[in-house]
């Protein structure tokens, strides 16, 4: 187990909000360590210049830090430096692929294979894309454990399958999907693959070369970094072939009134003044994570998860959704007859923050037959005491609501 007490000292919110604040919503967005906050503030207060083409010292420093962060991201996921594109977040990363890759490469009758447990960010871009290209959406179903049902894979992966876009770790069930196998199946039929790694990169080692995926997307704010920055990884040879997404400064090589040529990758895909401070902050978050060690963080979370599942299951009114063998530290649940929004309000009164809602996964809710669930998610700053506090409050809530 990590020394949570020491870790919590790195996160100023625990000083701000009194030490016993229990934050169980890291799947939505994580808390931020002081080093990340400082890295952002440093940029603004010491070298707040625009990047690229600034031939003065603070501009050169800004460029070096911004591009240095790209290197840190590349190292984290074992990617080539040129294959790392900064975006606003997972959502923009996926939309970039939907606009710049899919619209050029898909035609009527082609199939896009998703799963039934995608986040809205990996659903809507493909619905819109399907309307525009005539490509058809297919879905890998999940079973009552919240695990993908791959026995029918020969029906799902066919010649028509041109893109397989799947969530790595479910933000509802916690299920860690067998993405490596799925990528293999996709390659078997010649499909391009996109991994929504928003919930995996922050919590476990993800190696794009080992996975051999074509695209991978994640968000900075879910891994101790700033809001407003995310990453799209793409295989260089695919990125080279793609037209740009947005047009503007930075992404060009030459411009005349009626015609332009593009910059090299990855800059071809970064139009306009980038999210400089945010990318730098993400680099600092990666430093922090590396210092503690992703493996240790993962192990720590697994310990808490086991403890939480055990303890929560003992409360008779608690219903947990999802019981995959391989899973991350996310627990979705409901209390009998209590709307999760009320639950969340009552827990807040005890200084416990959980998420309540559809978790941007309405199709899962529909299949489960609920309108919303509560969700507790854990990260390196959580401890077993947090689980104890949660469980106490759950029992209290049941009593208070008289259900």
């Amino acid at each position: 187990m990590l020394e949570v007490k020491n870790i919590r000292e790195d996160f100023p919110i625990f000083t701000e909000r009194a030490d016993n604040f229990v934050y169980l919503d890291s799947s939505a967005t994580t808390l931020k360590p002081q080093t990340v906050i400082d890295a952002v503030a440093d940029y603004y207060s010491k070298y707040s210049a625009n990047v690229h083409r600034s031939i003065y010292s603070i501009g050169e420093k800004a460029t070096a830090e911004y591009e240095g962060s790209r290197k840190k991201v590349a190292d984290l996921i074992n990617a080539d430096y040129h294959s790392v594109i900064f975006t606003r977040g997972t959502t923009e990363s996926i939309n970039l692929v939907a606009y710049a890759w899919a619209r050029k490469n898909l035609k009527p009758g082609d199939e896009i294979l998703l799963t039934e447990m995608e986040h809205h960010s990996n659903i809507i871009p493909w619905q819109i894309c399907s309307q525009e290209t005539g490509a058809v959406l297919k879905h890998i179903p999940f079973d009552e454990n919240g695990e993908l049902e791959l026995s029918q894979h020969e029906k799902l992966f066919t010649d028509k399958t041109k893109l397989v876009a799947i969530i790595h770790q479910s933000n509802v069930f916690g299920t860690i999907n067998p993405v490596k196998d799925i990528i293999e199946m996709a390659k078997g039929v010649g499909a391009v693959t996109l991994i929504d790694a928003a919930q995996s990169v922050p919590h476990q080692k993800v190696d794009v070369q080992d996975l051999d995926c074509d695209f991978l997307a994640f968000s900075g704010h879910k891994m101790l970094g700033p809001t407003g920055v995310g990453v799209l990884y793409g295989k260089p040879e695919i990125l080279e072939e793609m037209p740009p997404f947005m047009g503007g400064g930075e992404m060009i090589r030459t411009v005349s009134l009626n015609e332009s040529t593009w910059n090299e990758i990855p800059w071809k895909f970064e139009a306009g003044t980038p999210n400089i401070a945010q990318a730098i902050g993400l680099g600092s978050a990666i430093d922090y994570i590396n210092e503690i060690g992703l493996d240790k963080i993962h192990e720590h979370e697994q310990d808490i998860l086991t403890y939480a599942l055990e303890k929560m299951q003992k409360i008779p009114e608690v219903n947990i959704y999802g019981s995959a063998d391989e899973r991350g530290a996310v627990v979705s649940f409901n209390l009998d007859n209590i709307h999760p929004h009320d639950l969340s309000q009552l827990l807040d009164n005890d200084d416990i923050a959980i998420r309540a809602g559809h978790h941007c996964a309405q199709p899962i809710m529909k299949k489960l037959g609920v309108s919303a669930t509560g969700r507790a998610s854990f990260y390196l700053y959580n401890s077993k005491e947090d689980v104890d506090r949660l469980c106490e409050s759950l029992v209290k809530t049941v009593k208070f609501m008289g259900s």
Binding site: H339, H341, D342, Q345, N349, A372, M401
Partner: protein, 146 residues
């Protein structure tokens, strides 16, 4: 915790557990949908109006206790009232929820005064009322509390 008890008063908890008029209505003269964009909860309101009189009212939906109780209480209050009486109730409700103050003749509505201290929950309480008000005035667009 005291504020919280004002929010979740016993009558609210009761209405939440046993909501009144929580059902579909086959012969509704108007039907309207409400949506709280802050939480995503939805509500459908059914009205049967004859000669300026609300002869039946019911609702369905997926809201929290506050929204469910508020809707439930509303249905009991406006049933068998004239449109203009319902409008007066709507105004009284609005004044309670935005000021936190009720006076003697507001009856059951007073239990909603506690919501005032929770600005983010005001929308929960308001959802059914706004939807009703829109339905009464023939506005069947989606009502949102935003």
């Amino acid at each position: 915790m005291d504020d919280l008890k004002d929010l979740y008063q016993q009558m609210i908890l009761d209405h939440n557990q046993n909501p009144q008029n929580f059902r579909e209505m086959e012969n509704a003269t108007s039907k309207a949908e409400g949506h709280n964009p802050l939480c995503g909860d939805e509500l459908t309101l059914f009205l049967h109006v004859e000669n300026e009189m609300i002869t039946d009212v019911s609702f369905l939906g997926s809201g929290c206790a506050i929204s469910k109780a508020s809707a439930s209480i509303m249905t009991t209050l406006i049933k068998d009232k004239t449109i203009s009486e319902a409008e007066t109730l709507f105004e009284q409700f609005h004044s309670i929820i935005t000021t936190g103050k009720s006076n003697g003749d507001m009856g059951k509505l007073a239990v909603l005064a506690g919501v005032y201290k929770f600005p983010s929950r005001v929308k929960c309480a308001v959802l059914s009322w706004h939807t009703m008000n829109n339905a009464l005035h023939g506005n069947t667009n989606l009502t949102t509390t935003e």
